[in-house]
C-alpha cells in the first residue's frame, strides 16, 4: 500500500483542506452578516471543526456508510488484511483486533507525551523559585498533562475492550465494526486539537477548565481544548454503544451472563457509564465554548450567570468517568489472578456485580469534588455518605482478590507482578479516599497535593498497572512472540518503587500545605526536600515506562516465538492458534462449564477444550 494512500495520510491532508475551507467559509459568512472579517477564535474554531469532518472523510472510514446512503451494497470486508506490517495500523480496518492495537499504540504514544510534560514541570518544581518555565507555560503544561493523560486512559480502555471482548465471548467481531473504526479515528483530530493549544496561547485553567477563568482568558487554545475533548467524548459514547450491544447479543451459546469472563462484566459496567454520562462533559464544555464564541453568558456572573452550574454539570460526568478509567483495569486483575494462582476467582458473582454496583453508586457522588465550591452547605452531607458507600463494592473486590490467591499456587511472571502491584497501589489510592470523602477533612486537603497523590495512585493502580499487565499477558496472543521477562521485571520494579515514593511524599506535602497547580511553592512550607524527591521519583517512573516500551518494541520484532497458551488459561481466546488473526473462531464454540474452575478435574469451560496443562518449555517451568 502506497504511503500516500494510507488513511492517516489522506485524513491529515483532507484535514488541512477542510480547515482552510472552514476558515474561508466563516470569513465569508461573517462579512455577509455585517461583522468584521476576522476574529481569530470563531474563525479558527470553525476551521478546526470542518477540518475534523474532512479528516474523517479522508480516512475512508465513512465510505461504506456513504455507499449505503446512496443505496449501494458493500462487500463484506475480507478476512485477512491486504496490508502487511505496521502500515496496517495506519489504515482504516474494521477488524476489532487491528482497531484494538490502534487504540493501544495511540494510547501509549500520547501517554508518553503527557508524561514528558510532567517530567518538564517536575524539573521546574524540584526547587523553589521559577527556574525556566513561565507561570503561563507551567499552567498549560499541567493542564495538558491532565487532559492528554485522560485521553490516553480512554484510548487504553478502548484498546483492551475492543481487542478482548469479542475474543472472550466467542464472537468474530464487534456488533458494529464500522462504528468501531469511526470511534477510533475520531480521536485523532481530537488529540491534535488538544496538542494545538500549545501554540495557541496554552490553556491555563487546569484540565477542569472552570469558568470564568476559562471563559475570560483570550487564549484561543481554550476553544480547541473544549472541541478536542468533545470529539474524544464522542469516541467514548460510540465505543460504549458498540460494546454493550456486542456483549448483550453476541455471546457464544451457553455463555450466560454469569459464565462470561469477568473482564467482560467490567467492560459492560464501564460502557454503561460511558454511554450515559459522557454527554455531560460535552455539554458543560460546549456551554463555555458558546460563551467564548457567541457571547452566551451562561457562567458570566456579571450577566447573571452561575459559576457553580458549570461545576455540577462537569463533575456529573467527570466523577463516573474515573470509574470508566479503573473498572476495566480492575477486571483485568480479576481475570489474571485465577490464572496465576491456579484457583477459581473467589466469589465470581459478587465480583461481577460489584462492578455494576460501583457504576451505579458512582453516579451519586459527584459533588464531593465541590465541597469547598460554595454549593449549598447542607447538601455536602449526603454526598459524604454516598461517596463512602462506594468503598463497599470496592472492598468486595479487594477481599475477593486476596481470597483468590490465598491457598493457591502462585507464579510470578511479569503480568502477575503488575497485577499484584496494581492491587497494592489501588489500595493506597482507595484508602486515601475517606479523608476526601468527609467534608471536614476535605476542607483541608482539597486542591492540595494530597488529592494529587490520591488520584494518581488510583489511576496507576486501577488503570496503568493493569493495562501494562494486560499488554504483557496478551502479548503472545497478539504477536505470537514472548516479551523479555528480564526487562519486564525491571520495568515493574522501577515503576512500582518510583511510584510508591512519589505518591506517599505527595500526600504528605499536601497535608502540610502544598497546594496543587502552582508553578512555585513557598519555602516557608518546609517541603523543599519532598518536592525534590517527588521529581526524582517521577523520573524513575518515567524510566520504568521507557523500559516497558523498549521491551514491547524489541519483542515485537525479535521476541522468542511463543508457545500456544503459555499461561495455561481456560479462556477461549487461548485455545486457538496464536497470533490470532482474521476471523477469530473458525467454528462457533459452546460454553459447557464455568470460566474459572481451576482445580476441578476434567471440567471444561468451552467445547474448545483447554483444561489440561500444555507442555511448557524449560525456561517457563523454572520460575
Amino acid at each position: 500500500m502506497r504511503f500516500y494512500k494510507l488513511s492517516i495520510v489522506r485524513g491529515l491532508l483532507f484535514m488541512v483542506i477542510g480547515t482552510l475551507l472552514g476558515v474561508v467559509i466563516t470569513i465569508m459568512l461573517r462579512l455577509l452578516l455585517g461583522m468584521s472579517a476576522w476574529r481569530a477564535e470563531p474563525v479558527l474554531v470553525a476551521g478546526a471543526l470542518l477540518g475534523a469532518v474532512f479528516f474523517m472523510f479522508g480516512t475512508g472510514v465513512l465510505d461504506d456508510w456513504l455507499k449505503w446512503a446512496r443505496g449501494e451494497d458493500t462487500p463484506e470486508p475480507s478476512v485477512e488484511s491486504e496490508i502487511q506490517g505496521y502500515k496496517r495500523y495506519l489504515h482504516v480496518s474494521f477488524d476489532h483486533k487491528v482497531i484494538g492495537i490502534q487504540y493501544g499504540v495511540t494510547s501509549l504514544f500520547i501517554m508518553m507525551v503527557a508524561g514528558l510534560f510532567a517530567l518538564i514541570f517536575r524539573t521546574e518544581l524540584a526547587q523553589t523559585g521559577l527556574q525556566f518555565l513561565t507561570p503561563d507555560g507551567y499552567n498549560t503544561l499541567i493542564s495538558l498533562h491532565g487532559i492528554v493523560n485522560i485521553g490516553a486512559i480512554l484510548l487504553g480502555v478502548g484498546a483492551m475492550s475492543n481487542y478482548l471482548v469479542p475474543l472472550m465471548i466467542g464472537a468474530n467481531d464487534m456488533a458494529f465494526p464500522r462504528l468501531n473504526a469511526f470511534a477510533y479515528w475520531i480521536n485523532i483530530p481530537g488529540i491534535l486539537m488538544l496538542l494545538s493549544t500549545i501554540i495557541l496561547g496554552g490553556i491555563d485553567a487546569g484540565w477542569t477548565g472552570y469558568p470564568p477563568l476559562s471563559a475570560n482568558l483570550t487564549k484561543i487554545g481554550f476553544s480547541m481544548f473544549f472541541l478536542g475533548v468533545y470529539l474524544i467524548g464522542l469516541s467514548s459514547i460510540f465505543g460504549a454503544l458498540n460494546l454493550i450491544t456486542t456483549i448483550v447479543r453476541m455471546r457464544a451459546p451457553g455463555m450466560s451472563l454469569f459464565r462470561m469472563p469477568i473482564f467482560v462484566w467490567s467492560v459492560l459496567a464501564t460502557s454503561l457509564i460511558a454511554l450515559t454520562a459522557t454527554q455531560l462533559i460535552g455539554l458543560s464544555f460546549q456551554l463555555v465554548l458558546f460563551e467564548r464564541i457567541f457571547g452566551m453568558d451562561f457562567f458570566n456572573p456579571e450577566q447573571g450567570g452561575n459559576v457553580l452550574l458549570f461545576q455540577h454539570l462537569f463533575w456529573f460526568y467527570s466523577h463516573p468517568a474515573v470509574y470508566v478509567f479503573v473498572l476495566p483495569g480492575l477486571g483485568v486483575i480479576s481475570e489474571l489472578l485465577p490464572v496465576f494462582a491456579r484457583k477459581p476467582l473467589f466469589g465470581y458473582r459478587w465480583v461481577a456485580l460489584s462492578s455494576m454496583a460501583i457504576a451505579i453508586v458512582g453516579f451519586f457522588v459527584w459533588a464531593h469534588h465541590m465541597f469547598t465550591s460554595g454549593m449549598a452547605s447542607f447538601l455536602r452531607v449526603p454526598f459524604t455518605y454516598t461517596t463512602l458507600l462506594v468503598a463497599i463494592p470496592t472492598g468486595i473486590k479487594f477481599f475477593s482478590w486476596v481470597a483468590t490467591i490465598w491457598g493457591g499456587k502462585l507464579t510470578f511472571k511479569t503480568p502477575m507482578l503488575y497485577v499484584l502491584g496494581a492491587i497494592s497501589i489501588f489500595l493506597l489510592g482507595g484508602l486515601s479516599g475517606p479523608p476526601n470523602a468527609t467534608v471536614a477533612t476535605d476542607l483541608h486537603i482539597h486542591d492540595t497535593y494530597f488529592i494529587v497523590g490520591h488520584f494518581h495512585a488510583t489511576m496507576f493502580g486501577g488503570y496503568l498497572f493493569p493495562f501494562i499487565a494486560a499488554i504483557y499477558y496478551w502479548f503472545p496472543l497478539m504477536t505470537g512472540r514472548m516479551y523479555s521477562e528480564r526487562l519486564g521485571k525491571l520495568s515493574f520494579w522501577l515503576i512500582l518503587l518510583g511510584f510508591y515514593a512519589q505518591s506517599l511524599i505527595q500526600m504528605q506535602t499536601g497535608l502540610l500545605g502544598m497546594r496543587r497547580r502552582i508553578a512555585d511553592y513557598d519555602p516557608a512550607l518546609g517541603v523543599d526536600l519532598q518536592q525534590l524527591l517527588i521529581s526524582i521519583a517521577g523520573f524513575v517512573v518515567g524510566l520504568g515506562v521507557l523500559v516497558f516500551v523498549v521491551n514491547l518494541v524489541r519483542s515485537v520484532r525479535h521476541g522468542e516465538a511463543a508457545v500456544p497458551n503459555p499461561w495455561r488459561s481456560r479462556s477461549p481466546e487461548w485455545q486457538i492458534p496464536t497470533p490470532v488473526s482474521g476471523h477469530n473462531y473458525d467454528e462457533p464454540f459452546e460454553v459447557i462449564g464455568d470460566p474459572y474452575d481451576y482445580g476441578l478435574e476434567d471440567s471444561e469451560y468451552t467445547t474448545l477444550g483447554g483444561s489440561s496443562p500444555s507442555p511448557l518449555p524449560a525456561s517457563a517451568a523454572a520460575d
Binding site: 507561570p135 491555563d204 485553567a205 487546569g206 472552570y210 470564568p212 477563568l213 475570560n216 456572573p301 494462582a341 491456579r342 484457583k343 477459581p344 466469589g347 469547598t372 460554595g374 459524604t384 455518605y385 463512602l388 463497599i392 468486595i396 479487594f398 477481599f399 486476596v402 481470597a403 491457598g407 493457591g408 499456587k409 502462585l410 499484584l420 497494592s424 489500595l427 484508602l431 475517606p434 468527609t438 467534608v439 471536614a440 477533612t441 476542607l443 483541608h444 486542591d447 504528605q508 497535608l511 502540610l512 500545605g513 497546594r515 497547580r517 502552582i518 508553578a519 512555585d520 511553592y521 459447557i592 462449564g593 474452575d597 481451576y598 482445580g599 467445547t607 517451568a621 523454572a622 520460575d623
Partner: protein, 484 residues
Amino acid sequence: MTSKKQPGPLRILIASSHPLFAQGLNSLLQRRTEMETVVVGMVSTIKEAVEALHELHPDLVIVDYDDDKVNREEFLARFVEGEGRLRVVLLSLKEGGDEAIVYDRRSMAASQIEDWLDDWSEFNEKASPNREYPVQMDEEQEQPQRRNTMRHIIVAGLLVIILTVVTILLLTNIRLLPEAASLQAIPIDDLFRLDFIAIAVLFSLIVGLMVYSIVVFRRRKNDMSDGPHVEGNIRLEVVWTLIPLGFVLFLAYYGSAALGETQAADPKPLRVDVVGSQWSWRFEYPDYGIISTELILPVDKQALLSLSSTDVIHSFWVPEFRVKQDALPGDGFERELRVTPDLIGNYKVRCAELCGRLHYDMLAAVNVVSQDDFDAWVVSQTEPLSDDPVERGEMFAQQFGCIACHSLDGTQLVGPTWKGVFGSQEQLDDGTSVLVDRDYLFKSIREPGLQIVAGYQDLMPANIAEGMTDEQIEDVIAFIESLR
C-alpha cells in the same frame, strides 16, 4: 437436539465415571426390568454426555448424583435447553436408600423449568453443603487440613498485626499536619487521626495477607497441578460486606458531625469581608471601616469571613486553620467561612483555586494577635487618612491590588511599570500612540482593556476598581505621577 418418539425399547444413557455404578446399573437393567430397554451408552464426562445426547437420542438418562466428575448442574442446564422429550433420573447411593429424583422433560411447562432449576440448586446446596470446600474426605484426612489452615491464618494474622503497628508508628512520628491554630482544626484533626488509623489497619490487612500468600502459597517446582477448587463462601462475603458497611456509615456520621462542629456560629463574631482579585487579597472590616492588605485577627474570637471575588474563582485557605472556602464572583455569591484562631502567630493565606498566571503567588499575611494588639491595630488603621494625596494614593494602590501587577521600580511585571510613566508617550497595541495623562489613567483604571500598551496582554480584571471611589482613583493617579 431433536428426537422423535421412537417405538421399540427404551433408550437409556448412563452418566457416571464410576465403573461399578455404570456396569452395575447396566447389568441390573438387563436382568430385572420388565419393559424392553437398551443401554445405548455409558459416559463418564460432561463432554461425552453432551455428545451422546446429540448423537444417541436417549429417552432416559440416569445420572450418578454423587459423581463429582460429571458436572451435574451443567448437564441439567443442557437438559433443560434441549428440545428432546427426555427424562432424567438423578440417582444417589449416599443420601438414604430410596433417594432418586426424576425429572420428566415431556411434561414440564417452560415456566416450571425455571423453578425446577432453582429447586434443584437449593436441593444441591442442602445435600452437599461442603461443596465450596475441596473434595469431601473422611474425617481423619480432614483434620490435618483444618489445622493447616488455622496455622496459616494465625501466622498471617500476626504479620498483619505487626504491619499495622509499624504503620501506625510511622504515621504518628512523621510530620503530617501543620500545627493547628484554630478551634475548627480540633474536630478536623481528630477525624484525620481516625482516618490514619483506619488506613493503617486496612492497608496492613490486605498487603499483609498478600505478602503472606506471595511467600507461602507459591507453586512448588514442577508441580503443574492446579490449586484447591474454592469457588466462594457466602458467609464470608456477607461478613466482609456488612462490617465495612457499618464502618463506613459510622465514619460518614462522625465526619458529618465534625463538619457541624466547624460551622458552630458565634452570635457576635468579628466580620471581615475577604475579596480576592487576580492576584491579591483585600480584607475589609465593615464594623471599623478598615481596608487592609493583611488579615489581622484577634485570638480566641470567631471571625466570620465573607468571601467574594472580583473576577474568577479564588479560594481562601490558611493551612493552620484547616478550613477552606472558595471565593466566587457575582452579586449574591458571597460565601461565609467561620474561623476562630486560637494560637497567636503569623500565618499566610494562599489562594487554593487555580486563578490564572500568578495563582501560585496569590498570598497575604494572616496575623493572629492578642485582643489588645488587635484593638491597637484598629486604632492605628482608623486614624484619619493622610492629607497628602500621594500618600493616600500609595495606600490605596496596595489595598486594591494594583501593586500585584504594576511595579514601582521599573521591573516589567504583568502590567506596565508605574515608574516614570506619567507624562510619557506610550505606544498602544493597535499601533496608535497616547499621552499618559490623568485622563488616560483614569479611563484605564475604570475600563481596563480599552487601550492596552503594546507588548502587554488584556489581563487587568474588568472590575478591579469596583470598590473604589473616584477620589480614591485620583489619589492613586497622584501617586503614579509622583513616581518619576
